[in-house]
Amino acid sequence: MANPPAKPTQQKVNEKMFAAYKPLAATYDEYFSGNSAPHPWTETILNHLESLGRDEFRARTQLASASFLQGGITFSVYSDSRGAEKIFPFDPIPRVINTREWKRIERGLKQRVEALNLFLNDIYGRQKILKDKAIPARIVLGSPVYRKEVQGIRPAKGNYIYVAGIDLVRDQQGTYRVLEDNVRVPSGVSYVLENRMVMKKVFPRLFNKVKVAPVEEYPTQLRKTITSTAKGTSMAVLTPGVYNSAYFEHSFLARRMGCDLVEGRDLTVVKNRVYAKTTQGLQRVDAIYRRIDDDFIDPAVFRKDSMIGVPGLMEAYAKGNVTLANAVGNGVADDKAIYPFVPEIIRYYLAEEPILEQVPTYICDRKEDLAFVTENIGKLVVKAVNEAGGYGMLVGPRATKREQSEFVKKVLAHPRNYIGQPLVELSACPTWFSRGPAPRRVDLRPFVLRGKDTWVLSGGLTRVALVQGSYVVNSSQGGGSKDTWVLTEEKP
């Protein structure tokens, strides 16, 4: 536990931490409004942080990083040949969301996930939306992650999406916009829980001053969600293994759900039923929270060279003998080339207007969009549609002419693989550096669990681009994270 804070000396109190903080121009700041006054809901937090003083704050920041290292809360970066484990850099200044904003986000997320789940049911079923020409069939069925192997296989209760991570950003006006959907194997939730644990250790008193919605319930809810449509209660988390970049999270979730963490080789399929190889023989598995991509999950059906999958798993799944969370084939719902159609998807299935905005998107697969993107590459963010982790993207305004023209070549070679979006001036949040707080851009990944009921984790993972001027928040690209506080009472 943290030692009780030293009583700040008079001098330290005077030396205000945030006095020199300057919000970025033309950017929404998470703590300060246009005239540099704090937002009403961040005032108490700011005052408390100020009252600690710089030295104390610095000491606590060190305490926080020591906790992460000792706890082995790490991820691996694949390009790093040493396979070194790295700590996900943690920033101690929380990102704060007020109650009213959050309620609206929560409704918007539920709506979006509900519509995407209906979309998957339809696409792998009768494909009514395509027949009605509400969205172009060519883009959907031409998606490299549309899995014809599961066409006609309906998972129990039509539940495709159990876990969704919907990435949100805020524009210059502070409006939340969906940047992308993740309904395959979204990761990052373990950091949400670990960050909160460390924050409580480092700033125990702050939690008495403001009411923050708890996040600890997530693993319990996850288990409940996944088993809610399963035939039995026996559940396992399926990981590619210790060398996977998110292994820590897989292990963390298995631990908190109290279920086995298995690798592909720990499972076997006998007569279309899935079993775990245990020290007492074979034991039936009813539900699998799988953290392996579709491509690798069953070498008998997908990639034959997969060493991490379970041969026969898809047949057991097709027979309804095992729940896979998330379902196979979900990629077609979060393909970045489908994303521009999500508002239409919401209208089509729910007959409602989308609650959350999104970012205008040019689909390079369309002739006129392609022309626009290649002509305006210097003003746009161009992304490969099926890559994650900040790989395969170009931030036009920050790229050299040469980088731009090389990227244009790639786009022209495979237009279906790319989309273009105007650069969103992501909101910024005060972030701690040894000299004091400075504004850095953030995004937000809330997590939605959808089984028999839908449940949204309060807040989510706030990622922060630690490099000055950067817009890329991914951990593999110099990003860090912050604890996200959803306030349940604005003023205590």
Binding site: L69, G71, Q151, V270, K277, T279, Q280, G312
Partner: protein, 337 residues
């Protein structure tokens, strides 16, 4: 429990026990070397021999320096090409722990992870240079802390039983090796005369097993090699003795086998039962007559066979049910929708 996870628990405990034993040996040997003036008697090399690393060591050490204390310590502590080195054992223990993180407690994980981080830190290197005792003490303490946390914070179920089984079998083998250091240092043990030097050597061996005071409590002040060897091998109350370690292994194996009700693990149980019964029938005078070293070698390989049987019974084998169903059903190739 998942076989792979059981295997991880078994090996994590074995590696840690190895690191612990070696740290004790090196810790004590430093002291011993200061205590007695042993001319023409190898004082350090035996540690390499019982670790089974003579060959590898001969490749890194210039001829004639085989008994150089600093070289031996560096080789057994830091050398990353030496799988028996303390650093390697800790690394392997930690790697196994990482692979089964979901079944060990947070306290256990933090202890082993901190030890690993520490071993790779500048602090550890400096301490090694400045205060050798403190250095080895830190390793030993961390291992004990880990074991203490295991007892206090981990679910006392199958994973724990596999851990303890691994640690106990490893300890049995390690204690045999420690006793064997004596052989390699002094040659075959004489029966009657105990030179002061030899007494000093046996005392060092006792201390390497943290056995000095326990030994005095049962030995009525007697200080001779045969009695000490008997104590370390066969005393049923001393935690690090070979027989006691095998008794403990038996108890944990029984727990894993639901008190013998399960047919799985029968092979391991039979081998272990045989070994315990063989050992309890041995008389020390007879052992000495036949030669201590050959007996020790036999025990080490018998313990090794038990370990192999545990691997076979629980970690490697495809369970019977699968074999049967694979033989009786011809599975059709996966039909694609």
């Amino acid at each position: 429990m998942i076989s792979r996870v059981a295997e991880g628990a078994f090996w994590m405990a074995r590696y840690l026990e190895r690191a612990d034993t070696l740290a004790r040996l090196l810790y004590v040997n430093n002291n011993f070397v200061l205590d007695v003036d042993l001319e023409n008697t190898p004082r350090w090399q035996p540690l390499v021999v019982v670790a089974g690393e003579e060959e590898r060591f001969s490749k890194v050490i210039p001829k004639g320096s085989e008994d150089d204390g600093e070289a031996v310590q560096a080789f057994l502590t830091w050398n990353q090409d030496n799988p028996s080195a303390i650093l390697s054992s800790i690394e392997s223990a930690r790697e196994n722990a990482r692979g089964i993180r979901e079944i060990i407690s947070l306290e256990m994980w933090e202890t082993i992870n901190s030890l690993w981080l520490w071993m790779r830190s500048e602090t550890a290197r400096k301490l090694y240079q400045k205060e050798r005792y403190e250095f080895y003490l830190h390793v030993r303490n961390s291992c004990s802390l880990f074991n203490g946390f295991a007892l206090d914070t981990m679910l006392q179920s199958e994973a724990y039983h596999f851990m303890r089984l691994g640690a106990s079998l490893e300890r049995a083998g390690q204690t045999v090796r420690v006793v064997d250091v004596k052989y390699h240092a002094m040659g075959p043990t004489g029966q009657s005369v105990e030179y002061p030097m030899e007494v000093a050597q046996w005392q060092a061996i006792l201390r390497s097993c943290s056995a000095i005071e326990p030994y005095f409590k049962v030995a009525n002040g007697e200080m001779n090699g045969v009695r000490i060897a008997q104590f370390l091998l066969f005393d049923r109350h001393f935690s690090r003795s070979v027989l006691r370690s095998l008794d403990r292994s038996w108890n944990f194996l029984q727990l894993i086998r639901s008190n013998g009700k399960s047919t799985i693990g029968k092979n391991s149980a039979n081998l272990l039962k045989q070994l315990r019964s063989d050992l309890s029938k041995l008389h020390m005078t007879e052992v000495v007559k036949k030669g201590l070293h050959p007996t020790l070698t036999r025990i080490v390989s018998a313990v090794g066979e038990v370990c192999m049987a545990v691997q076979q019974d629980y970690f490697f084998a495809v369970p019977l049910e699968v074999r049967r169903s694979r033989a009786t059903t011809t599975r059709k190739p996966g039909k694609r929708a």
